[in-house]
Amino acid sequence: MQGLPLLSLAIWVPIVAGIAVLFTGGDRNASAARMIALLGAVLGFAVAVPLYTGFDPQQGGFQFGELKPWIETFNINYHLGIDGMSLLLILLNSFTTILVVAAAWEVIQTRVAQYMAAFLVLSGLMNGVFSALDAMLFYVFFEATLIPMFIIIGVWGGPNRVYAAMKFFLYTLLGSLLSLVALIVLYNAAGGSFAFADLYRTPLSMVLQVFVFIAFFMAFAVKVPMWPVHTWLPDAHVEAPTGGSVVLAAVMLKLGGYGFLRLSLPIVPDASIHLAPAVIALSLIAVVYIGLVALVQTDMKKLIAYSSISHMGFVTLGIFLFNAQGVEGAIIQMISHGFVSGALFLCVGVLYDRMHSRQIADYGGVAGRMPVFAALFMLFAMSNAGLPGTSGFVGEFLVIMGAVKVNFWFAFAAAVTLITGAAYTLWMYKREMFGAVANDHVAELKDINIREFLILGALALLTLVMGVWPQPFAEVLHVSVSELLAHVSYSKLPVQ
């Protein structure tokens, strides 16, 4: 296995499979398109697994490196490599792709080939973001992910899909264009290199660092999304098809968190530390205020979208605490949120496919009709509320621990989410699943089929495993996180 360029495979296998799917043509060959797509997704995951088994958690730096010249005029290289953080996100992404393809099996009936192709290409591009070690390569992958997602929301989305797709695209483009200028400025400061390694060691003045930090912040904060630039997310989630919501919540938001860890912190450490209080304040607003906003939502998808923003607030909070618990907690939280929010959107998808409504008020007493589904949904709801023993608890607990070390009141405010999170999730669960059967439609509901059971079951298993035995996830992180923090603690200000 050593000789294979595994990272390239993880990027290009899904993309090539996606293009292959397109060649099946119109909807007459829909079943062929589905089969090829599933095959591509499984293969994509299969090439990502050796990354984990072959990964040496004790070794620092980047592993599975690949380096080829790409655009020599600008000294841009096709430079790939992963550390612990990227590894987990690549696995999450490749795994989610399989679920998304499977979840669309019977649900998507129009333009199946294009739907599958968009998701596979998106998956490959996101693996590219997580493994790029050249800032321009990172940027190209980062931006390119917008195209398939734009198509996914706009073509297979709900009634207001055009507005949501446009908003999604332009919002995220705004941030990334500024970071493009910042990257070019850095390129000149580093003497003509986009390589992360060169950018990491280039000394930068405080003014320049703050400028670069703000530009990066625009890109990544929109992606995460942080309050107050979060407003695109509820729109995008509500209008996107189930698969789109799942990928958006489970993986795409992580591009923002990953960007902070890979670019902002190491490239402009002084500005990051200097501006951390502001970021922490925004994160806490997201955690507390958006948690309250989630409480009053009447649309299930909107509720989960706001819950996502609130949970991602934990991620940015953890990152900007600059201690091991905080950063590790943030990464664990990203992975856990990937499982849980993905699962919750799939659950909403299951209900929506049967009832064609996302309004909580249209449901009631579903548990009696769909007992298996109700049990699984319960688990995910609990995990979303941060119940110990589920994955949702681990990340939040670590971040709160990290926050206590910095400032008790940070931790206190963050811990409020354990109450609001439980309130909005469980209240939604109660209104939908328990009580009297709300109407005739609910009375006719059928429980989940074997395909849906397998998808949700796999996620349930992961949620539990991560909750009771987080070791396999955490151990690959230790060295990467401590290296990152050691790097951040050195000032990059030029010596006078």
Binding site: I71, R111, E143, G154, I184
Partner: protein, 482 residues
């Protein structure tokens, strides 16, 4: 005949001139049914011209005709690209012109003379040669716009184009006369030398420079000299709009290089014209992008988009560095490729006597023809500058050139306006993919158009994955010539 030798650097132009005259005469004896023969001859002439350009190419500049004509790497590259672009234009335009009674000998003769004009402009090493080429191109284009005699719109566009074009030529000529007054020479290489050494009449030189920049602004269609662009783009028959919008930009770029970078490229003068170009570039980006949002006519929208692209092109040029000029050339090549493709799709969707220039005509194109919708998607994302399409690298290299000279705030303005620009390109994608078609007729195209358009569209992504060779070509061409 010592003083005009050697003749070989001008072989492509001579060949083109002879063939254009021959085709003009031969066409008299060809009946309307056999007009395809003229078409074939024209295409073969252009292909021959491209080959000649390729084989007479040389890395070192060669001067001939008493220093009035230069053959250098930049000229070879741009001439080759011009010939290829014109070939593409004629292929895309064939069905359209045939359906509108424009598939006549005049069209081809004018196209060939326009091409000759562009090639002379590109190879000019003397202000009079440059002007000669420019007028040959412009007059051919005026006539082409007016070729559809019974169309009021086209006649109006031709009139507007002619009046404003003549004004621009006048400005340019006036500026040239000032340069002559200040330096006593019209030869570009000598001008370059004199302006480096510094001339006594510096004020006259700068005064002339202002008129030259204004004239170039007119020809490029940069704000505030852009008024003719939308009307001419919309009024002209689409095939002619395609012609005006694409290949002549190579020639326009070449004269910008010859006049500003070469003749007036001295450090002190660069500072003078940089200010002017900067204002023109920023205004072009602003007005081009903002006005394009409001358009419902695709041709008009692309006209405003052209204005904003010219703003980006000027940003590359104003940096005044080899990297910047190279970025400008890369940008213009990419721009022409995108324009060819976009107008190719517009021409493809016109059927019989119907135009397809309203945005609504693109509704649901993905249902009617997924392949052409996909090509148009690539073209639109490339125009918006979204990676991994080649449009992104064009913008990247221009931005890098601008940041390199310390104008990072200009780069911020430029990206903000391209964000606004992204909106109207996305709207086309939205119409094609998200909306239901109003007209379900399948899209039909001849084999030649299908192949060429596919190559054209896929070039967006192929060059996006491997932009290196084209970038190197552009930078080397500029380095060898400036």
């Amino acid at each position: 005949m010592e003083y005009i030798a050697p003749l070989w650097p001008a072989y492509p132009e001579l060949f083109l001139l002879v063939m254009a005259c021959a085709i003009l005469i031969a066409d008299l004896f060809i009946s309307d049914d056999n007009r395809i023969v003229t078409y074939g001859l024209t295409q073969m002439t252009l292909a021959g011209c491209a080959l000649l350009t390729f084989f007479t190419g040389n890395a070192e500049p060669v001067y001939t005709f008493s220093g009035m004509f230069v053959d250098d790497l930049m000229a070879d590259a741009l001439k080759l690209l011009t010939c290829l672009a014109v070939i593409t234009i004629l292929v895309y335009a064939r069905a359209y012109t045939a359906a509108r009674g424009m598939f006549r000998g005049e069209f081809f003769a004018l196209a060939l003379f326009a091409t000759l004009g562009m090639m002379v402009m590109i190879s000019a090493n003397h202000l009079l040669t440059l002007y000669l080429g420019l007028e040959l191109l412009s007059l051919s284009l005026y006539a082409m716009v007016a070729l559809q005699r019974d169309s009021v719109q086209a006649t109006e566009a031709a009139m507007k184009y002619f009046v404003l074009g003549a004004l621009a030529s006048g400005m340019l000529l006036y500026g040239m006369s000032m340069l002559y007054g200040a330096t006593g020479t019209l030869e570009i290489t000598q001008l370059a030398q004199l302006s480096v050494e510094g001339v006594r009449a510096q004020a006259v030189l700068v005064f002339g420079l202002v008129f030259i920049v204004a004239g170039l602004g007119f020809k490029l269609g940069a704000v505030p000299f852009h008024m003719w662009v939308p009307d001419v783009y919309q009024g002209a028959p689409t095939a002619v709009t395609l012609f005006i919008g694409s290949a002549p930009k190579f020639a326009a770029f070449a004269i910008v290089m010859r006049l500003l970078a070469q003749a007036l490229g001295a450090e002190a003068l660069v500072d003078e014209w940089r200010q002017m170009l900067l204002i023109m570039a920023v205004l072009s980006l602003a007005i081009g992008n903002l006005t394009a949002i409001m358009q419902t006519n695709l041709k008009r929208m692309l006209a405003y988009s052209t204005i904003s692209h010219m703003g980006f092109l000027l940003l590359g040029v104003l940096s005044g560095t080899i990297d910047g000029y190279g970025a400008g050339m890369f940008y213009v090549v990419v721009y022409v490729l995108m324009t060819l493709g976009a107008f190719g799709v517009i021409l493809l969707l016109t059927r019989g006597g119907f135009e397809a220039e309203e945005l609504d005509d693109y509704r649901g194109l993905n249902r009617r023809s997924p392949w052409y919708a996909f090509l148009m998607l690539l073209l639109m994302f490339s125009m918006a500058g979204i990676p991994p399409t080649v449009g992104f690298y064009a913008k990247l290299s221009v931005l890098q050139a601008v940041v390199q000279i310390g104008l990072w705030w200009v780069a911020v303005i430029a990206v903000m306006f391209s964000l606004i620009g992204a909106f109207y390109y996305l709207r086309i994608v939205k119409l094609m993919y998200f909306d239901e078609p109003r007209d379900t007729a399948p899209v039909r195209a001849g084999g030649d158009v299908r192949v060429l358009l596919s190559v054209n569209g896929l070039a967006m992504i192929v060059l996006g994955i491997a932009p290196q060779p084209l970038m190197v070509l552009c930078i080397e061409a500029v380095r060898a010539s400036i």
